[in-house]
Symmetry: C2
Subunit: 328 residues, 2 copies
């Protein structure tokens, strides 16, 4: 019997395991044009926290009691569509479950790149595109820029570090704890701040004495304020995530916000789906970096559908290096 995770209750603040419930999915025959996919890899991503609130946003809220959704990679096991056949590996958004059924148009064959299938949930998927277009299109980062990126050990941040280095930028990452710091440094970052070791603003001032041209924000809060404190004239901030506030109703406190004015800083929020039309450019450029041997990738893997809530909650406690995944 296929199963799926549902939202049992809307979390208040940090979600708890009791906010999730696993249910059996009805087994049904395929209609014409539909496929059945055995999911192999499921994604957990910070943005999913937003969908757990009953708030209108760029993606609709999860409904209580209904199967949740999210990125997934699986294998077609049954097909009533001419375009997909059993054995095809596909990516799709019917995650949080072990089997997905739907119209073939909702499932996309994996691009032909020499990476394992789960990479299309990470560096070669939504988090990778977020990094790529956030850095190059939103922040308009270019060779010679000094780039600061928070959560640099995460799926998005670690790709920002590597794309930025590949494009000739100086990169300062921030990560929590010596292991992650060492890993980010191994990706090529010129300097890495351990945000658990002291105030970010001070550390950033030491790492970038001439200031930063670009900030790629995954966390908000202290990191954003530090970036404001050290922004150079005409600095561009791509605001991608604010893990700091997803689970917290506390306001963000910014001491250096007025620096925006004198330094003509531009802060811009974005969501990756605005850039999906440029996916081919992303695969081509990332494929070239892959072929050049300059891309490294790390995963934190939980096993089994039952582990989904734990994997998700781990995102907010710094539990992952690289992409957080569940293997089913």
């Amino acid at each position: 019997m296929p199963r799926a995770w549902t939202l049992a209750a809307r979390p208040q603040g940090m979600p708890r395991s009791t906010d999730f419930a696993i249910v059996d999915l009805p087994v049904r025959d395929l209609a014409e044009g539909e496929v059945r996919v055995a999911n192999r890899w499921l994604s957990v991503d910070p943005y999913m926290r937003g969908r757990m609130n009953d708030v209108k946003s760029y993606v609709p809220p999860f409904q209580i009691g209904a199967p949740m959704e999210g990125g997934a990679v699986g294998e077609v096991v049954e097909s009533r569509d001419a375009g997909l056949k059993p054995g095809d590996m596909v990516q799709h958004m019917l995650g949080w479950r072990d089997e997905a059924v739907g119209p073939a148009s909702a499932f996309h064959k994996l691009p032909l790149l020499d990476v394992p299938p789960q990479a299309f949930l990470g560096q070669f998927g939504m988090p990778g595109m977020t990094a790529y277009f956030g850095l190059l299109a939103v922040a308009e980062a270019k060779a010679g820029d000094t780039v600061f990126v928070s959560a640099a050990a995460g799926a998005v941040g670690s790709t920002v570090v590597q794309v930025a280095k590949a494009k000739g930028m100086t990169v300062i990452g921030s990560a929590g704890g010596p292991d992650k710091v060492a890993w980010v440094r191994s990706l090529g970052a010129d300097a890495v701040i351990d945000y658990k070791a002291g105030p970010v603003a001070k550390a950033l001032g030491e790492a970038a004495p001439k200031g930063i041209d670009v900030y790629f924000d995954n966390v908000g809060g202290d990191h954003l304020d530090a970036a404001l404190a050290h922004a150079r004239p005409r600095a561009r901030f791509a605001i991608c995530g604010m893990i700091d506030v997803y689970n917290d109703a506390k306001p963000t406190q910014l001491k250096y916000l007025a620096r925006l004015i004198g330094n003509r800083v531009r802060m811009e929020g974005f969501i990756v789906s605005d850039h999906m039309g440029r996916a081919e450019e992303f695969y081509r450029d990332m494929g070239a970096m892959l072929a050049a041997g300059t891309l490294r990738r790390e995963e934190t893997v939980h096993d089994g559908l039952d582990a989904m809530p734990d994997a998700f909650l781990g995102l907010f406690s710094g539990g992952n290096t690289g992409k957080m995944l569940v293997r089913v």
Copy 2:
């Protein structure tokens, strides 16, 4: 004997009158190419507070004991330059004093527009250009947009209201107290919020139930947070001033900052001098609005050089409607 105001001490927080001292200026003969100008009107502007701190910024800090500077309009009374002759009215930056002496290149004849000379310190000067280019160039506001502007009764804000209306936008202003609210309404604003009467975010939600496309920020703080709370997708914020933090080391508290992401909001700081190269376009367009009878202007005037500190301090206590000026 000509006199000038100097900074006697660097203010901590809100400046006090004891932070300023008036001194005699040495009388000296003109060198070749210099002019002597009797100042008629002196400007006080919020940005001057920043120059009172010993902090590197887009304008250098005032030096303790040295005459301060600022916008001024005056009459040439003596000239050793072929381009300027006694009787010419000029604008320049040697304010905070009753007589200015310097090279003719530092003094600019007033443009030929049918407004009184002091208007070139306000609506037809730096505050007007700030409003014009902040709205149209930085925020890229266009006909049909809903524009929110804080400090809408001030020199900059009142011009934003009128330019926005002239360009076919819907305008919501914020001002403090019934008199200012009434004045902003008389400028053509579609709705005016009295920020002293209740929470700005709630009032803005009522005034703009469909949200705002543009926010012109003169104050920061609660107003900025309210604008974030009600930003529509792809909203643009021109960040012009943060009167809220100029005198205050308290951090800005933003509850709605993460809205930047889902709504792809762009916040951009700017300073007017970046747009000075387009001054001709500004005079032409504003001149046309003036000729069409659609521009209104208000001044709050203090009399005499001795009144400069009071006029300046009044900027931070809501003491002005329209442009704050000192007549000498």
